[in-house]
Subunit: 199 residues, 2 copies
């Protein structure tokens, strides 16, 4: 058994793309400086979704044969979350990381796009009227990005959910890339075992 | 160690209520007859939410001392999902089950309210403008209520997520109560171990 996901450099994309299929996903986020709730710093609104298959993941999907990755990703975002690509620009500058899954023979491109708090709210509203809403996408939510006073609830509890494909690895990279969380903070949350159910 | 949750009859509510605190939660749902996606019968739009603590749960919360359970639940629904209590009536007829948690000393009242597909869409839109959105509530989604062709994705995958308190027991009872799923279907989904990650 080899590794589940291998990081691939830009110059090698074409080698892997020829061996399988490609997908693109995007983390949309807005910083929320000074926003606190119950003593927790909310940090940012980072959007993920409940998918048709019951896993958590990011908006995006499979790139069609011959389609440019960025254009395919934008097409998927229009379908899944009614993304307003005229008003919000996603570009190759927003590329964060690309993973190759040797078992599934899929090259997974991941982007992260920062928007304003007002834009995040518009994105959340528009998503409910997407073509795919209620079918491929069951709903969007913001990721809890703090650890509550019991040392367990919040981010440590959230990351125990089941994520599709490389979505958790992508969230991790996205949070580091955006400087929303540090490697140490993420590792500390990963080390917490949340066995007790909260009320 | 006694049982985690004990079902309590209406005539005994007062005995337990005196020993601890009370909470009320509600499953809002709309039937979606004839709605299919990728060969799966969608059945219904059943709303749950991503909570501040990272668990999945139903709208609702703690009843204040001296407050009527139903009124407290409606107050919480107004706060959490901007529930339009003038247009949508929640009553004692919608009560499904009440559980006592001996460890937490909490009496958990559960209601299920059927609305139209149009009302569910309005509820989803309004929820984004609630007082608690982005704080106590991180987003709403529909529960996947089918099993996909691999026998794993969909409902069996969904129920592996972490739920707050008795929320999973409540979902189970709500689905049976509404006739959306049978006991046999739920047991079959519970027996599936979804170890492989889907792409």
């Amino acid at each position: 058994m080899g590794p589940e996901y291998v990081e691939v450099k830009k110059e090698d994309f074409h080698k892997y793309a020829d061996r399988g299929i490609q997908a693109g996903h995007c983390m949309l986020y807005a910083r929320l400086p000074g926003h606190e709730f119950e003593g927790c710093d909310l940090r940012a609104a980072v959007l993920m979704q409940m998918r048709f298959d019951g896993h958590l993941g990011f908006p995006g999907g499979i790139i069609e044969p011959g389609e440019e990755v960025l254009l395919g990703l934008i097409r998927e975002m229009v379908e899944e979350i009614n993304f307003d690509s005229d008003k919000i620009m996603l570009s190759e500058h927003n590329h964060v990381v690309t993973h190759w899954n040797p078992k599934g023979k899929i090259l997974l491109h991941f982007y992260a796009l920062e928007v304003t708090e007002e834009q995040i709210r518009t994105i959340e509203h528009r998503a409910l009227d997407s073509i795919d809403f209620g079918e491929e996408v069951m709903g969007m939510f913001r990721v809890p990005l703090y650890t509550m006073s019991d040392g367990c609830r919040g981010f440590p509890t959230f990351i125990k959910h089941s994520f599709v494909g490389s979505a958790y690895a992508q969230l991790r990279r996205g949070l580091l890339h955006a400087g929303i969380m540090s490697e140490d903070e993420i590792k500390a949350a990963e080390a917490v075992s949340c066995t007790g159910k909260s009320l």
